[in-house]
């Protein structure tokens, strides 16, 4: 709860900093300081939240447990890393730098709500709080037509999916008479309530849209490609993880006992997401667009955590969210250094900037799920959660197949960097600080891969 307040206050401070702070650099510094403070608040929350029972706030609107605050802490850490790595690029997007950071703080506020909500109203508010800033961030490069298109597309489709979410919530309320996810009375009812099922499907569709699962993924490539790269990195990682924790929470806590009725639908969505994401990513010519499709593919893996109603799923999502976020932020940081986003733009990067090429390789390996990197452990956890369910073997095998395909397009970048001659143009020189931060990010990726327990111990 303190984190929510702190995130809001940080956002408001940054908003006013937009008037007072003229120098773009200072805005970035201020954002880093505030995010550090936010991280501090989160760590304090981890320490002060009792491990046993969740704490209820405000008539049970929020039920925040140790797990939720730990998730928040890790993702706040990811955000901090993101701002440290990419902050300079954010400052180049437009003239409202402080406002962009304010919006990022609001997204964090939405994340904190989504990791601990206990009421459908809070779910709705949280989803909207992470969505609206994203619409704006997508369109922040106003002189670029593609950015405006991305923003408008995202906004229209997002508004539509919010409408579906609301309809689902309405039907669920009609079926159960409650907004509290822990009080849904169909948990006890013997007969299957069609009204509730229709509600669950609608909510599932809306949340699938927010996490860009197929067939509701249509917006993702255009938005991630059109949005300023600096913001794509955030939208594809932390904001997506926030939507996922909401998805997971709802389907485990509220609909867990009904899992028989929705597992099949969600498995089909998962399979479709994996298929569409991986196969389409193969055909992309631009690395940025490839990463957009790969984020769809990764969402397919994260959906495994939602499908499997067990304790490993909770651990899986935390590991997956962090490993995927860190690696993606890292690869976007590398991408932002380059002028040309096509595969050819990476040609010969290893000769020109060996450090950059090396860290990019580690990030890509992690995304592909090669052992010793975070991505491997993440995939291991979510897939073993599904294995434990028993009847999802076919899906797991399909996922492994798709993971093998994903190796192809991730390795294309590595091959371009190491084995193809060329002289890539850089946007800005790679400074010592950049190198240090990238290697630190790299170390985190490896740390997750080798000692995943570190990130699970709460």
């Amino acid at each position: 709860m303190k984190a929510i307040i702190a995130a809001t206050i940080s956002g408001v401070i940054l908003m006013f900093a937009g008037i007072l702070v003229k120098e773009k650099k200072n805005a970035v510094t201020l954002a880093v300081i505030l995010l550090l403070a936010l991280l501090g608040v989160n760590i304090y929350e981890v320490v002060s939240t009792p491990a046993a029972a969740p704490q209820a706030f405000f008539n049970n609107m929020l039920r925040i447990d140790r797990y939720a605050v730990w998730f928040n802490t890790l993702l706040t850490g990811c955000t901090l890393l993101y701002v440290l790595l990419i902050g300079k690029e954010i400052a180049k997007v437009g003239s409202h730098v402080a406002e962009y950071f304010a919006l990022i703080c609001f997204i964090l506020c939405g994340l904190y709500i989504l990791s601990g909500y206990n009421n459908m109203l809070m779910l709705f508010l949280g989803i909207e709080i992470i969505s609206i800033p994203q619409y704006i961030l997508a369109g922040s490069d106003k002189k670029n037509l593609k950015s405006s298109e991305a923003s408008l597309k995202y906004f229209l489709m997002g508004a539509f999916s919010t409408g579906i979410l609301l309809m689902g919530i309405t039907l669920l309320y009609g079926a159960t008479g409650s907004f509290y996810i822990t009080n849904f009375t169909f948990l006890q009812a013997d007969s299957l309530n069609v009204l509730a099922l229709a509600g669950i499907i609608l909510v599932m569709i809306a949340l699938s849209f927010k996490v860009s699962a197929a067939p509701f993924h249509m917006w993702t490539p255009d938005v991630y490609d059109g949005a300023p790269t600096a913001f794509t990195a955030f939208m594809a990682t932390v904001a997506k993880a926030a939507a996922f924790i909401a998805f997971l929470r709802l389907f485990q806590v509220a609909f867990g006992s009904l899992s028989n009725s929705w597992t099949l639908v969600l498995s089909v969505i998962t399979a479709a997401t994996l298929f569409v994401g991986n196969i389409t990513a193969v055909f992309q010519q631009s690395v940025k667009r490839m990463l957009a499709y790969s984020s769809i593919a990764q969402a397919g893996f994260m959906l495994f955590a939602v499908i499997s109603v067990n304790a490993i799923a909770w651990q899986g999502i935390i590991i997956y969210a962090v490993a995927y976020s860190v690696a993606t932020i890292g690869i976007f940081a590398v991408l932002l250094k380059l002028k040309d986003y096509t595969y050819d733009g990476f040609n010969g990067l290893a000769q020109k900037e060996p450090t950059l090429a090396f860290v990019a390789t580690i990030f890509l390996l992690s995304l592909a799920g090669i052992p010793l990197t975070g991505g491997f452990m993440a995939k291991y956890y979510v897939l073993s959660a599904a294995m434990q369910q028993g009847h999802l073997m076919w899906l797991v095998i399909f996922a492994l197949l798709m993971a093998a395909i994903s190796v192809y397009y991730y390795f294309r970048v590595i091959i371009a960097m190491y084995f193809k001659p060329g002289n890539p143009e850089l946007n800005s020189p790679v400074t010592q600080t950049d190198k240090f931060l990238l290697i630190l990010t790299c170390a985190i990726v490896l740390l997750i891969g080798i000692f995943p327990q570190l990130f699970l111990s709460v």
């Binding site: 008539n59 609107m61 180049k92 409202h96 609001f106 506020c109 709080i129 609206i132 009204l195």
Partner: protein, 179 residues
Amino acid sequence: MYEVLFWFLTIMAIGCALGVILSRNPVNSVLFLIATFFAISGHYLLLNAQFLAVVNIIVYAGAIMVLFLFVMMLMNLNADVEPQKSRLAQLAGMIAGGVLFLVILAALRTASLSVLDKQSNDIGLIKNLGKVLFTQYVLPFEISSVLFLSAIIGAVVISRKEEVHSTVADGSVNTSDIK
């Protein structure tokens, strides 16, 4: 009397909602939508939620739809510029929509209305609404301010002109992006 009003408002709401999507002229669509809001406000009145009814009219019909109309009038849209979807897409949409309609219809047919709480009839009165809003629902009420704040910031970020000197600096980046 109550029944008559209910059915009148329901038919008006559904009819006008259909009018929104069926009319060719966007301005007519907007006007139908306004009429739909009126019908819904009427329903609120029947449920004794006067505050909600009037706020619905003030906010939606009085402000948001005026802005909508505003945009429609300035864009001068008409039926000719409306993009035409292919037959196949239309058919697919029709089937998908029809199936959803059937499912929801089936859901509503079997639904028991036991959860309807008939006792708290005065919840829509402004005093009770205010009390509920500031006690039971105080957190969503306050948190929604974050939502609005981010929307306001968004409006400022999107609508304010960028300073001139940054145009030159960013120009080169944009061209490479488009390429």
